[in-house]
Symmetry: C2
DNA sequence: TTGTATGCGTTATCAT
DNA sequence: ATGATAACGCATACAA
């Protein structure tokens, strides 16, 4: 005869100790145990102690899935970023996580690889996972994304941008205006011949906006960016080097005296390549970037760049989302300060027109 | 007779369309609908189509919490890293996420800030969140952590290490041995007077191991690291500069001819500071680092360093955990190749003893 | 304040 | 291959 009783279900006793066990040990109902653990102020002093010690004694760990199902709250928020491989994004996510952690939320991350279709897929996955809020980057999303957010009623926040897109909450700065300011600085220095090593605009509205800003600033002074002086490269140091060679091609007299880079990584590459080409920075050529990474102030001769407070944006995004979720007041939009940091990589042109 | 049942719940109709709705529209039972969506091969051709179109028509999105509760599977794994702010970690997490995504898992991240007590707290939170696997960094964990993992039966993997700790699965490399190799390279070059700008050993076994390795290699040649020539600094460029000034203090004749840095960020700082002090690298001083970041090959004169395949470790960690979770064979330990990359920052000492 | 009884949406067991 | 139905572990409306 079989020593095993015929079992009704075949579930593993994965988590032996459940709330009911705690309640039993404490001699109270599951409801009271639940309240004691979650809303201590709604329960008597004595009960509270009994439940707590019982829970501790059993090493009780609540089951998040069951809790989420019953309460319809996951206490989880999601973030879809292009990649964590860009340090400036990583910093933002780091601070996002820190703040969420402080406020009792967990963070699930996914990357879009700068592709809006993948961003949509990832966001969908996170939504299925039950995130209660979503941090996105930029404002160029798949048309279906907002609809998805809408139907699920999940708050979201666009970061790194603060553009005309008044429909949607965002935390960041105006990339166009920022590029204008940076370009104006160079113009005021006396530069007239420009080149730009931009990021890949496709799928990256921030990169595109920076090009627009540069063009706009130049146009106001009656200047323009020659086609041969604008090149798009993925963000990277090696790409910055390639970019510099490309935009410096041609007759020396027609070469740009200032190169604007889409981010600091590209700018580092440009500076290194200029050195390799024997072109003095800033004597022969001024170079500027965007972001202001840890290295920007240290790399000789120091990189003039726009300081972007990526960590602050992460913190603000966390607060915005949690406030929305918890029904607290939350500013629909908030702007962070991006400031020009002048360092050694810029100077007046050696031979102004 | 009451038109409505007397008890009515006040739940928000948060997710109007559920599996039952799909089943109803398709004219099948919920069970069949579930099977059609999850295990298509266990269902008839015709049913499958009906269910799928019904689901699409209603825009059905499964509820992860309910699914997790019923199946006892969250399809989520967790990672606790010191910080995302170190680009080398960010890369590892990026690749971890990529691979998990490919295999149908989501990633929830938390940071420990190099503190084992916080690591324990974060791991606990992730476990409560129902992660089915956990990626950790290093091997120096809180005593309770393994017990926690054990009771919950959650697979884990220690990354960035491959030490004697044979109890636990890990993916990485031997930090001591790696430091030995790096030091031997300098010794073979002829260096005899060394300094080290290490990371903070407290809470960071990798940083500590690298110091051990350097000492070990020196000891084998009858040399040692003077107390005044070893300094611990948080990983950072500015800290590297401070560190260099500190270890170069004293009479020039007694100065080290080689400085070993705990990671590339510190090495960058050391190189910059050496330049600022008018000390030629590698003519007067050789500098080496660990990690091999994107900038290491570009920064003049090129940084000699140990290349650490952080992305690969992320991928391997993902595969290991998913394989374990899904009952597939998984190597208990796997080692990645760390190789010495010689660049311009090292040369024989100008005046060997 | 505490207990009782559902219900959350899905998967899985069993019978058909 | 498909349907009926009992868990899954917890929170909460309601009664006491």
């Amino acid at each position: 005869m079989q020593p095993r009783p015929k079992r009704k279900r075949f579930h593993l006793p994965s988590q032996p100790v459940k709330l009911a066990d705690v309640a039993a040990l404490a001699g109270v109902s599951p409801a009271t145990a639940s309240r004691a653990l979650n809303t201590p102020d709604k329960v008597g002093e004595a009960m509270l102690e009994r439940v707590r010690t019982a829970a501790a004694a059993l090493g009780y760990v609540p089951d998040a899935a069951a809790r989420a199902l019953a309460s319809r709250r996951s206490r989880t928020i999601g973030a879809v970023v292009p990649t964590l491989d860009n340090p400036i994004f990583a910093t933002g996510v780091q601070r996002l996580e820190s703040r969420l952690n402080e406020r009792g939320y967990a963070l699930v991350v996914a990357s879009s690889d700068y592709r809006i279709d993948k961003e949509l897929r990832q966001a969908t996955i996170l939504l299925e996972r039950g995130v209660e809020g979503l941090m996105l980057m930029g404002t160029a999303h798949h048309p279906s994304l907002y609809a998805l957010l809408e139907t699920r009623g999940v708050p979201h926040i666009n970061t790194w941008v603060d553009e005309g897109d008044k429909e949607h909450p965002c935390i960041g700065f105006d990339n166009v205006e920022t590029a204008v300011r940076l370009t104006n600085y160079l113009l005021d220095l006396g530069h007239r011949r420009f080149a730009m090593i931009a990021g890949i605009a496709e799928g990256n509205d921030r990169a595109a906006a920076r090009v627009v800003g540069v063009r706009e600033a130049l146009a106001r002074r009656g200047l323009r960016l020659e086609d041969s002086r604008l090149i798009e490269e993925p963000y990277g140091v090696a790409e910055g080097r390639d970019g510099l060679r490309a935009v410096m091609a041609g007759h020396p007299d027609e070469r740009p005296t200032a190169v604007i880079c889409g981010n600091d990584l590209l700018a580092f590459g440009a500076i290194f390549e200029a050195a390799a080409m024997g072109l003095d920075v800033p004597g022969y050529l001024s170079v500027v970037g965007f972001d202001d990474t840890e290295l920007s102030s240290h790399i000789p001769p120091g990189l003039t760049t726009m300081h972007v407070p990526s960590g602050e944006m992460g913190t603000l995004a966390a607060d915005y989302l949690v406030n929305r979720i918890e029904g607290k007041p939350a500013r629909h939009r908030s702007r962070v300060e991006v400031r020009l940091v002048v360092r050694g990589s810029t100077a007046p042109p050696c031979k102004p027109d």
